[in-house]
Amino acid sequence: MELKTLIEVGIAALIKSGLLIGVLLTSFAYMTLAERKVVAWMQVRIGPNRAGPFGFFQPVADGIKLFLKEELIPAEADRVLFILAPIITVIPALVILAVVPFGPAIDICLPATLTVPFEWGACYKVPLAVSDVNVGILFITSVASVAVYGIVLAGWSSNNKYALLGGMRSSAQMVSYEISMGLAMVGPVLVAGSMSLQAITLSQEKLWNVVTQPIGAMVFLLAVLAEVNRAPFDMPEAEQELTAGYHTEYSGMKFALFFMAEYIKMVAVSAIATALFFGGYLGPFLNDVPSWLAGILGVIYFSAKTIFFLFCMLWIRATLPRLRYDQLMRFGWKVMLPLALASIVITAVFMAIAG
């Protein structure tokens, strides 16, 4: 590949990933505030409103508190793994969104004064995904599985038998629901004929996938709730009340990283759900406006759909009680897996008939 193209792509990727990380971290912070306020309003009370207007600076206050907490490492714990475990959990959460397209490709033309000395082309068509690989779905499932390692290592390296049990239970839960999640993702791949998320989004121009595969969409949304350890599947989080849980021995910044991993995974899987089943960035007026406005509109549609799913996750958390561990496993293997397989079979039959 030419050096020029390499540098162009590199700079674009750097800028996009910088923006993505910035947006993800801010959305994580305000997701914690949104959770407290939305769950509070559903419980007929007001959430935090003291740390700034409408509690706007509450995440800042929480962040400062976590920074200043004492970092404890238990005496007999495996130091390297103990410090590595939250990092292994957080990085996949941040990286998953690299393949998701946030909007249609926009045309960016650099001003003439900038490009003339380099004699490079002035106009680029920039796709709004950090890097749209053509095996996007495979990338998502494989990176999501790496996060399970982080939890197992956290449970093991804490040198606490209850943390070990908590980590084992959590990883078993995540692994069982990953199967249903992966199978549910096969439906849109069949319809689009490609694993690239850009192609899947574009294949929904006439009809969103949720209309043609409602079972697949429901299975995906529930499996993804269990994947991020979110209510009503939040056994690992709630085990602080029961036994321990994989993040018992963690304090301060390492604990903040675990929480960050969970909320960022929530945002990421909501984004993936909109890209796979709800038309991604597609919406009215995208083809009739100039490309920079289409880019902005696409991002707005995508964000609106993602925010709707995040709200639904908070709504479910405020309403439903927690599932017991055996109920959870039974649900994952005996209900979700057959439904996901059924959805694939039905979609494949329709695709074969309709062509």
Binding site: W41, I46, N49, T319
Partner: protein, 165 residues
Amino acid sequence: MFELVKGMGTTLKYMFEEPVTIQYPEQKREVRERYKGRHELKRYDNGLEKCIGCSLCAAACPADAIFVEAAENTDDQRYSPGERYARVYEINYLRCIFCGYCEDACPTEAIVLEGHYELSYTSRREAIFTKDQLIVPSPEGKPDTPQKVVPGVFTRSVPEMKDSL
């Protein structure tokens, strides 16, 4: 299965109802009628103190929080309509359990638990409330104790239990 959706509908409906939160300290809730807050030493309508220094409240207190030292009344310097008055009256709020036994034991209805609950102090010395912090001010237009009275009016050692003498 359908109950799940009904439950979610209920939660959504509650989201739009007015919250029941009371924003303390800007808004405060009214105390109930018999709320047991901080004590007050009451007076009669003519300005004399009701407390006659009998220390029945100190005897009744299960937490040993009250300290009373009595002194004799003279008609020149009369604090209460009985034979004695409380010269030193202290309640230690680090010991008080707000049970109200002192209020039940008092023969003249002098010590009463009122509705003041914002009691925070920064040292142990500050937690001991003395008589001048607990006594209510004289009613409108009436002189403060000690009063100079006409001899022969207040002859009972324990006055009658009514508000105006």
